[in-house]
Chain length 480, copies 4
């Protein structure tokens, strides 16, 4: 098991990272990027913290210990513990998931299941490679990012029909010792501060798209790999005004593969186009369970912040305020209930891997996603206009203005400082760049709203529903 | 255990029932009311049916058998089986719950719990009476109705502040051998065809309202008790046009107590006004679990009917139709997931009675209630205007018109008859009196939407939410 | 101008009408159908009533008078007066539009506009025929129905691709003196009690569908025309329980054309398949303005009934009740504002006909349609469960039960009778067959929700919106 | 009429402004605040621009010219022109209203109306003072801010019941030549760069609150007046990443009155506590019309940006995308229709001032406010995750990364630059601080959602609605 500092040391490896137009020689030393590094290091800190050890660490099958993330879930309880670990680290991370191992192990679980199928259908030997890679990551306690979403160009066209062939990542050369890939992925979270990059296809592919059917893993410092970190939200520096985003960040990159060589034993899919869809889907199903788990602290915070600021503002007994808080409670608790039910209703796939019930996971995610903006609206409504008009940290520290703030910005039974802190917290999480980040992630991360709907439709027990309608209508069954 | 016919025989007991302005001498022989009797008899038929025996019957503690409804739930599994029994009987009942024992045992469970508290606090001996009454009902396999909602007059005023004193049921005389009560209850389901009537207070009461704090049980044929059955929906007679409501009904009565004497051993609350609220609430919490259980066939039917009529109409592949069906799937499955979770998250009260988690039950009920009308709208939208413009059964049977209907009302790969049957089913369940009944029940039955919200607010772990907000805002705890 | 009795006399003409499986020899004498006849006769009664004359009647261009419906609207004010006439007659009609001339003149206006185009493009002489037919109807003060919606079979296929060729009405023979048509229409309102039936195509057609491109008008008593009246809602007879639907009805028919001959001068489209779409659309645009006009009394009633029953129940000051009534007010007033704005923003088509702004009409209609079920839910919530559990008229008239009702069903400052009347009114309009009728009409009548959306999308000034986005993004125009 | 530079010069007057903890000697020279100054100067620039002169300028009653804002509206057309002017300047201001005269004249109109009432009721002479002040502002073409919202402390308590007496602005001394006031206002827009500050009460007051019933106007540079500008959103500097907020800003201040002396002829209310409510309300009614007018470019932008980015992403034909764009169109057009209707339905108050119909204004505002977050969600959904993960301006300018961006971030028929510009525009307006600002303003600016609901309820023609319900229910009127 690594310490947080050992983890930081692994990031000084010559990786090609650009931020705000500058090549970054050491991401752990960069004033903005280090915030994301330190945030992610939470994962290692929890493992070393006696309060969280039993949650974060499990016995290694060969003796010793390993991060719980690497443990294959076999039961509902395993999934519930994984959910609890993700929730706890996200709470410590100020509503932002660390994600150093969550997404990577989601991918590894999916790769195991799909490789098993591919090998069976095609006679390939991918499973062995994946097992080796999995053990490598596990035993070195590595941080993993996953690059899935291609840049896509015209989304109404498939990979082979784009105006240029690199709008989806593809194999440009097949060699005896490996493959060479070219293209770019977007929205790649934590790639800047991970050790390994796992690359997966983003969609189902047709026969003509064989070159695009590719999955593999490479170290971040691999030659030809360039990470352009999004500057979004990089300005948050005031602990008072941005209590969460000044301390916690996740970064995304445009991840460019400029004829990157991938050695043979790190290639997990190479041209089996019919497997691209299953791999993409299987990963996403695991990953959406991660998603709904890490959303829990955010929605719980919405309830608590709404209740507390209502009290500070003296409106906690107003009927419409109660009504909105009740709505937030139902919103949060429904998400939690559905997430737990997805674990309780898991099924066992190959290798006795417990897969959270896809229908329930997607219903949970859709519930979260489609009502998130309304939740934001209610919280903002209860908090008041000071979210965007309040004085800030420098005003608080300035001797001429601080007495004015202290005198005038108190609330019901609360001094100005606590009220300002709470207002800025709500502002950070709903009206700042972090707020925008949460809002867009609600809609787009881990698959779009429409993708969730599609899964819900596909996994519905439609035969049972239709049989009930037939029975009550007195219509015989089609074949009967 | 009774047979269905034995049950029917018990209803010929001189009870005072009015329907459509006529005194009904024998409810089992009345052309409309017998539909409700036959529907409710499902409960007894299931017990005698080998397909449902194991679900409907459990061993009696003293040997022999008894209806599962009388079994105290002690575990999540007990609650899940009770849920399954309610769901199954409602499915067989064409979306209408039989309710002969469901609501009565909800009341009995609540009476056990509250009597235990009252006896402890007040030194009374109610629990013994309830146990005796419970055994009486169980061992005779009796059907029970529950009268709770008072007529209320001006709802903004309490019982003692009404313009006349009988707007809430009250004790008008306390005698050594019992009490005399006067007043009226509304919305009393299945009273017309039950054996016993359990009477509960409808709300929390104050000190001045002692006379209104009363609970008891009496046989339906008790002198002074008059039942005025609502005529609502009594016209449905065509099996084609009203496939459900022509065969299945539940009736409600205005239930008038004209100085009814209740013997002492049947009195379960007599003036302990501080217990009226707890009793009303405890009953409702059990009963809302019954409610969400019996809603399941209805929402499942909505999905199945929407999918099947979409196929019949040839629009099942249209994007907006898929979207609406997906919405219905998520609506139905969320209700089921929350209902099951309420059972899984039960807590144990006195006598090791498993109480479904009140927060989750109410969230489930609110989810159902607040989106039901939208579900109706989507189903109606997919089905089409024929719901209210189609020819009917007589047109189908008339030789001159039947060929026209057969020729012109077919759909995609389906003949006119099946399509008409399905359309009439949807019409019955959404646009007929049954449709109106379901809609109003969604909002009002087993407690109003606002009551559900209140429970959700009250049961929220607000301390935990607020602590999270404080932690992330960097605000110390109030006492710290 | 006809009197109501003269109108009734015109209906005794041998028309072939079936109701509940029986051939009806005289629709004005039938116990159920006469309700619809009497309801529609409102149109003639208003013209004879001094309170409504100035609204209902305008000068005939050749001297004398005529119904305002026949007057071509040339200005916003003309449209507003037409709107007022429709609203007023629907209010007198207990929320049900009479529709004897509304829909027919909508069709006549559209036929004028489209015939003008067809004649110009094709050299045909349809306009003359339409003018003649228009004058014929106007000068005889005739009642007109419009048959538009075909039975359609598989809605995913066009007319020529159905499993049998008559799923859309078509020309089966072209003769020198006219045409012979076969097929069936559904949802044909007021055909049972109109004088003339105007037939229009229901959708855009392709070249292969020439036989289906047909429009014409025939008297109802034409040989080969059979009307099968829907039995939906025919049971409402109690003035107390169904205060509206016992007195007011509109009927719809399955309208079958069994090789009906249409004389040449009554044919308004014959094979010009490219004009079927424009004709269908132009009619619907006029007709949706009629629709939003006649919805106004219904939504206003919802507000008034909600407020009054809230007062009767004593809950009119509760915060959540106010909130729901406010929602209903905004719902109703937005519909009215948009309807008026559609008139104010009209454009002038050929013959200086004022066409209500299609975008605003459709936005108004969509606003009404997509929130109607929510409006129902709020009204039902405020009214309470008695909507479906209250005693009825016979109970009120029975000496044994009436005192019970009087004693127990009063409200805050109101006696039982007024409260019962109001509750039954709300029940009639939301939970009875009339309620179901209004609900389905909200979604399907005058074009579906999806059709309204399509029009809104098509009529959007997208260039202006996109130019604004380009301007603010600093992106040059495509051609610039 | 002033030029923009003359306006800037007026701001160098010694005003006490703090920003980010620093006293700002010259707001026109400050790197952040000057953005807000330049933005507001748009008002003066339009008056000097031949394209906008006829809109921005009207004849002065005494000859010469004046800003249209100062013109009293007397007709619907006057209101429509005012609306057009506000909309146009906001469009030029990148969705941010300049507000230099809009809000001030809203206050002046209201002051005229209320002073008229006060003088009549109390025999005071406020109207003369207001006329003098109005002419002073108009003839010097001054910029005016309005301070209304008090800091309020415990919002459940009135001014006199707060824990300290200054939580609402109050008169601490009445002198023969004027008054001395103490307290603080929040959310004061454009005060930093206005000339005059008009101060109004924020709520209805009781008898005990006489000292809080105060209205007046003072120059910004008045002794004792301190402005603490909110730092919210001050970091936006990249024209690419923040195309609107880097160029356009409005600032709000905590506005502190530290025993400020107001000369007698600038006092417009002094202790007439019963008039505080009417004045607050009258101002807000005018101001909400300004509000809905300036929201129009924002909602129009949402439509245009959604359509254009859908095209760039190649998803403009997807059914669900069309559906969401249609929703946005209806959202935007309904707002515009209601806003215009409020002008068309104006009534004439004293001095023939045309007051926009309060009901319609508030319905328009509520429509905008309650659906704004959903509009944001749809726009974000169509745009995609790049809103928060895209590279930025520096990456675009860096030679090493620009080719990567150009290669990979193009869309359907569009190059990377245009697509990036559009994505950043959408990001700016929905996920940046400007996005948060718009969201919170939607809910809170110009009065809260609950205040709008209250006005809608109060202005409803409830008698007419209830009379309709009575008529259709057959219930006599109360007094009849």
């Amino acid at each position: 098991m690594k310490t947080a500092d050992e983890y930081r040391a692994t990031l000084r490896d010559g990786r090609v990272v650009y931020y705000e137009g500058q090549r970054v020689p050491d991401v752990t030393a960069h004033p903005v990027l280090r915030i994301a590094v330190d945030h992610a290091a939470l994962d290692y800190e929890m493992a070393a913290d006696s309060r969280y050890r039993s949650l974060a660490i499990v016995p290694h099958p060969d003796g010793g210990e390993m991060s719980r993330y690497f443990a294959f879930p076999h039961t509902s309880d395993d999934l519930l513990r994984r959910m609890e670990l993700i929730e706890t680290s996200t709470r410590l991370g100020g509503t932002i998931v660390p994600l150093l191992k969550e997404i990577g192990t989601d991918a590894l679980f999916a790769l195991h299941l799909v490789a098993h199928e591919v090998d069976r259908a095609r006679g390939t030997r991918y499973l062995d490679r994946i097992r080796t890679f999995y053990a490598y990551c596990r035993d070195r306690d590595l941080a993993m990012a996953v690059a899935q979403t291609d840049v896509k160009g015209d989304r109404s066209a498939g990979p082979s029909d784009q105006t240029h062939p690199d709008y989806y990542l593809r194999i440009v050369e097949e060699r005896s010792d490996g493959i060479v890939v070219r293209g770019a992925k977007v929205h790649t979270s934590v790639s800047m501060n991970a050790n390994e990059l796992i690359v997966l296809p983003t969609r189902a592919l047709g026969d003509r798209d064989r070159a695009y059917a590719v999955a593999f893993a490479i170290p971040i410092a691999t030659r030809g790999l360039t990470l352009v970190v999004s500057p979004y939200g990089g300005h948050a520096v005031s602990p008072l005004e941005h209590p969460l985003s000044s301390k916690h960040r996740m970064t995304e990159t445009l991840t460019v593969f400029d004829d990157v060589f991938v050695p043979r034993d790190r290639v997990f899919l190479q041209g089996e186009s019919e497997q691209a869809g299953p791999l993409a889907r299987t990963f996403v199903e695991f990953h959406r369970f991660t998603a709904v788990s890490y959303k829990l602290p955010l929605v719980d915070l919405f309830v608590g912040a709404a209740q507390l600021i209502a009290e500070y503002n003296g409106i906690e007994r107003a009927g419409h305020v109660r009504d909105k808080i009740t709505w937030l409670v139902a919103y949060a608790r429904t998400l939690r209930a559905l997430t737990r039910m997805a674990a309780l209703d898991c099924y066992q796939g190959a290798f006795e891997i417990a897969v959270p019930d896809p229908a329930t996971v997607n219903i949970a995610k859709l519930h979260f996603a489609t009502q998130f903006h309304q939740a934001v609206a209610y919280l903002q409504e209860i908090a008041g206009g000071l979210l965007v008009t309040a004085p800030g940290q420098a005003d608080w520290e300035q001797p001429a203005t601080r007495p004015l703030l202290e005198r005038y910005l108190g609330g019901k039974g609360v001094d100005a400082e606590a009220r300002m802190r709470l207002l800025h917290l709500i502002s950070d999480v709903t009206t700042s760049h972090l707020g925008g980040y949460h809002a867009v992630l609600a809609i787009h991360a881990e698959g779009s709203i429409e993708a969730e709907k599609l899964t819900i439709y596909r996994t519905a027990p439609m035969d049972r529903y239709v049989a009930l309608a037939r029975e009550l209508a007195g219509i015989g069954s089609p074949g009967g």
